[in-house]
C-alpha cells in the first residue's frame, strides 16, 4: 500500500517536472549554488582534514604514542640504546646534521634549509647558537667562511628500530631500512622527498660528513619516503651510525650545535608506562636530572580535529545561508506552480487521491528537484576538484592523488533533500487544502 502511494507520488512528480522543465530548471539554478556551497565546504574540510591529519601523524606521530625528549648528556644515549635494542615496541631516534658532497666546502643549502631557499643569502636559521641541555643558548662566534662547493646539508636521523609504526611515512621509491640485517659499514640511508630533490638537482659526490663522526662515510641510498618534513632529511640505522660516531662523541658542546647528536627522542607504544618508568629510573640513576626528562602522549590529531570541526561548522553555517536562498527560490516557484495547478489537484482528489498523497506529490517534485540539483552540484564539485588538482596539485604535494570525498557527496544529497523538504513543505500544505469542489465550480 505504501509502495503504491510512493510510486504514485514519484510517477506524478516526475510527470510534473517534465511538464514544467523551465520552472524546474529555474528552481535548480537557485538551489545549485547553495548545494554546491555545502558540497564545497564539506569536500574542502574533508580534504584539508585528511591532508593535515596525515601530515600531523608523519611529523608528530600517531595519537596515543608515548613520546619522550631526553638530553644526550651523561651517557643517556648509550643507556637508551641499550634498553631499546631489539625491541619492536619502542624506538629511539638521534638527530644530527650531515653534509653530503665535497668535504670542507660551504653546502648549497647551508644550515639544512629547503632547496628553494638555497643561495638566497642569509642564514635560514638566523644566528648560529650553542645550547646546553637546560635549553640555555649562546650565540656562536662567527666561523671562518668556507668556500662554496658541491655539497648539500641535511638533517640526519638515526633510528634504533622501525619508526613507521609511530610515524607512518609514505614510501615514494625504493625500500625502507632493514633493521633485521647485519649492519653495513657503508650506512644505508633513506631520503625524504626534499633531500631526494636536492640530490637530483645538484651533482654532489657520494661522500657524507656527519657531525661528530670520526670519518667520512660513503652512504648507500636505499629509498625515498614522504615524511611530512619540508627540510632535507635522511634516515639511517643507529647501529650503522655507531661504527662511525661513538656515543661518547655526542657529549661535547660542538655537537650540540643546531641540535646535533645530543637530541634524543624516544617513541613508545601506548601502554608502555612500565618501560617509560624504567627508562626514567635508569637515566636519573646515571645522573640525568628528572626535570630534563619530558614524556608526553601524542594527542595532535585529536586536538587538530577539534579545531577543524569548529572551522567546518562556521563554513557550513555560511553555506547553509546560501542554501536558504536556494530554498526561497524553490518555495517561490512551488507556490506559483500550486496556484496554477489548483484544478489539476482538485481533479486528482476527485479521482480518489488523498490529501496526504497530494501533498506528497508536491513534496516529491521538490525532492526530485533537490536531488537532481544535488547530483549536478556533486558532479560539479568532483569535476572542480579534478581541475583544481590538475592546476595546483604540483604546488601542494599533499593534495596529489586526492579523491573526491564521499562525505561531501552525502552532504550534497542531504542538502538537496533538506532544501527539497523546506522548499516544498508550504506548497504541499497549500495543495492539500485545495477543495475538491473546485472542479464543480470551474
Amino acid at each position: 500500500m505504501f509502495s503504491g502511494k510512493l510510486r504514485s507520488a514519484l510517477v506524478i512528480g516526475g510527470q510534473g517536472i517534465r511538464a514544467r522543465k523551465l520552472r524546474t530548471f529555474l528552481s535548480m539554478v537557485s538551489l545549485f549554488l547553495g548545494v554546491l556551497a555545502v558540497v564545497a565546504v564539506q569536500a574542502g574540510s574533508e580534504i584539508a582534514e585528511r591532508a593535515m591529519l596525515t601530515d600531523v601523524e608523519l611529523q608528530a606521530g600517531k595519537d596515543g604514542t608515548l613520546m619522550g625528549y631526553i638530553p644526550g648528556e651523561k651517557g643517556a644515549s648509550g643507556i637508551v640504546e641499550t634498553m631499546l635494542k631489539g625491541r619492536s615496541d619502542a624506538v629511539a631516534m638521534i638527530s644530527s646534521q650531515a653534509i653530503i658532497g665535497e668535504p670542507g666546502v660551504r653546502p648549497i643549502n647551508e644550515g639544512g634549509s629547503p632547496f628553494e631557499y638555497a643561495g638566497r643569502g642569509g642564514d635560514y636559521y638566523g644566528p648560529q647558537m650553542i645550547c646546553d641541555a637546560s635549553g640555555k643558548c649562546t650565540e656562536q662566534k662567527e666561523q671562518e667562511k668556507k668556500p662554496a662547493g658541491q655539497a648539500i646539508e641535511v638533517s640526519m636521523v638515526a633510528l634504533t628500530g622501525d619508526i613507521r609504526q609511530f610515524k607512518p611515512f609514505r614510501p615514494v621509491s625504493g625500500t625502507w631500512l632493514d633493521f633485521a640485517s647485519t649492519p653495513s659499514l657503508a650506512p644505508r640511508i633513506v631520503l625524504n622527498e626534499e633531500a631526494a630533490k636536492g640530490l637530483k638537482q645538484y651533482r654532489v659526490p657520494g661522500e657524507m660528513m656527519i657531525e661528530g663522526a670520526t670519518h667520512h662515510v660513503t652512504p648507500q641510498i636505499v629509498g625515498v619516503v614522504q615524511d611530512g618534513n619540508g627540510q632535507p632529511r635522511i634516515y639511517m640505522r643507529l647501529d650503522e651510525l655507531r661504527t662511525w660516531m661513538p656515543a661518547a662523541a655526542e657529549a661535547n658542546d660542538t655537537n650540540r650545535f643546531r641540535g646535533g647528536g645530543t637530541q634524543l627522542e624516544v617513541y613508545l607504544q601506548p601502554g608502555s608506562e612500565d618501560l617509560q618508568q624504567l627508562m626514567k629510573a635508569k637515566l636519573v640513576g646515571a645522573g640525568v636530572e628528572q626535570n630534563h626528562l619530558h614524556f608526553d602522549t601524542v594527542n595532535s590529531k585529536k586536538r587538530m580535529q577539534s579545531e577543524l570541526k569548529i572551522m567546518r561548522l562556521i563554513f557550513l553555517g555560511m553555506a547553509f545561508l546560501v542554501l536558504l536562498i536556494g530554498v526561497a527560490g524553490i518555495l517561490n516557484v512551488g507556490l506559483a506552480t500550486v496556484g496554477e495547478r489548483v484544478e489539476e489537484f482538485a481533479l486528482r482528489r476527485a479521482v480518489g487521491m488523498s490529501r496526504m498523497l497530494l501533498a506528497g506529490i508536491v513534496l516529491a517534485e521538490t525532492l526530485l528537484t533537490g536531488l537532481l540539483t544535488a547530483a549536478l552540484a556533486i558532479g560539479a564539485g568532483a569535476a572542480g576538484l579534478q581541475v583544481a588538482l590538475a592546476m595546483f596539485g604540483s604546488r601542494f604535494p599533499s593534495l596529489q592523488g586526492t579523491a573526491f570525498p564521499w562525505e561531501a557527496g552525502v552532504a550534497g544529497v542531504i542538502a538537496g533533500l533538506v532544501a527539497g523538504v523546506l522548499g516544498g513543505l508550504i506548497p504541499a500544505i497549500r495543495a492539500a487544502r485545495i477543495p475538491i469542489a473546485t472542479v464543480m465550480r470551474a
Partner: protein
C-alpha cells in the same frame, strides 16, 4: 473495509440531505431535506436552474463534501460521516466523475490522462495492466486510436470522451456527470450522452446533472431541483 453489496439494495440512497453554505454573509440553505435513491443500472437526470443546488448535490453524492443533515447510504452502508481517507478510497473505487469542462492535463496524452485515475495512491498495478485497462476504457468510448494524442489535438467531443474513459477506467458503480454536454454541440452532446447511457447497461448507476431537457428525457428518471428540494 469495503461496504458490503447487498442484493436488491439500492446503489445509493440519500435521506433528508441538507446543506447550508456558511460564508461571511448569512448562512444560505442550498439543499433542504433532499431524498434520492439510485439503483444499479438506473439513470437519473437532475434538472434545475443555476444555483438550485444541482452541483452541490452531486458533490455530496461524490463525497467531495459532507451534508449538514441527513443520511447517506452506499450499498446499504451509512457513509454520512466518512473520514477523508476512506472517502478518497470510495471515490476511487465506487465513483466515476465527468465534468462540464474536461479537465484533461495538457502535458499528458489521452492514455496518460485516463491512467491518472489509476495512479492515485489507491493500490498499484503494473504498467502493462494499467495500459490494458486504459485501452479498454478508451475502446469503450470509441477513441482507442487517439490514445497517444495530446488534448490540444482532440476535438471537444473527443476530449469529453477521454474524460469519460477516465471516469470508467476503474469500473465504478456510479457515474456522476455534471453538465457533461454543456461545452459541446448538440450532435457531439448526444454522442456523449449515448456513451454515458451505455454504462448503465453494465449495471452502473448514472446521475446526470443537465440543463438540456432532451438529454434528460433519455434518462430513466428525471428530477427537478428547485429551492433546494426535488419537485
Amino acid at each position: 473495509m469495503q461496504p458490503q453489496v447487498q442484493v436488491q439494495a439500492p446503489l445509493l440512497q440519500l435521506n433528508g440531505i441538507t446543506k447550508v453554505l456558511k460564508g461571511q454573509e448569512e448562512p444560505r440553505t442550498i439543499l433542504s431535506g433532499v431524498d434520492l435513491t439510485v439503483h444499479p443500472g438506473q439513470s437519473v437526470a437532475i434538472l434545475g436552474r443555476s444555483g438550485s443546488g444541482k452541483s452541490t448535490l452531486l458533490s455530496l453524492i461524490g463525497l467531495f463534501d459532507r451534508a449538514d443533515e441527513g443520511q447517506y447510504f452506499l450499498h446499504g452502508n451509512d457513509i454520512t460521516k466518512l473520514p477523508e481517507r476512506r472517502a478518497a478510497a470510495l471515490r476511487s473505487a465506487e465513483f466515476g466523475f465527468v465534468f462540464q469542462r474536461f479537465f484533461l492535463l495538457k502535458h499528458l496524452t489521452a492514455a496518460q490522462n485516463v491512467a491518472m485515475a489509476l495512479v492515485n495512491g489507491q493500490g498499484w498495478s503494473a504498467r502493462r495492466k494499467r495500459r490494458q485497462q486504459v485501452m479498454e476504457a478508451l475502446e469503450t468510448v470509441g477513441i482507442a486510436h487517439l490514445a497517444k494524442s495530446k488534448p490540444a489535438r482532440l476535438s471537444g467531443g473527443e476530449q469529453q470522451r477521454v474524460a469519460i474513459a477516465r471516469a470508467l477506467v476503474r469500473q465504478p458503480r456510479v457515474i456522476l456527470a455534471d453538465e457533461p454536454t454543456g461545452a459541446l454541440d448538440t450532435e457531439t452532446g448526444n454522442l456523449v450522452v449515448e456513451v454515458l447511457l451505455n454504462t448503465t447497461r453494465q449495471g452502473c448507476g448514472l446521475v446526470l446533472v443537465t440543463h438540456d431537457h432532451d438529454h434528460a428525457r433519455k434518462m430513466g428518471r428525471v428530477l427537478e431541483l428547485r429551492d433546494g428540494r426535488f419537485n
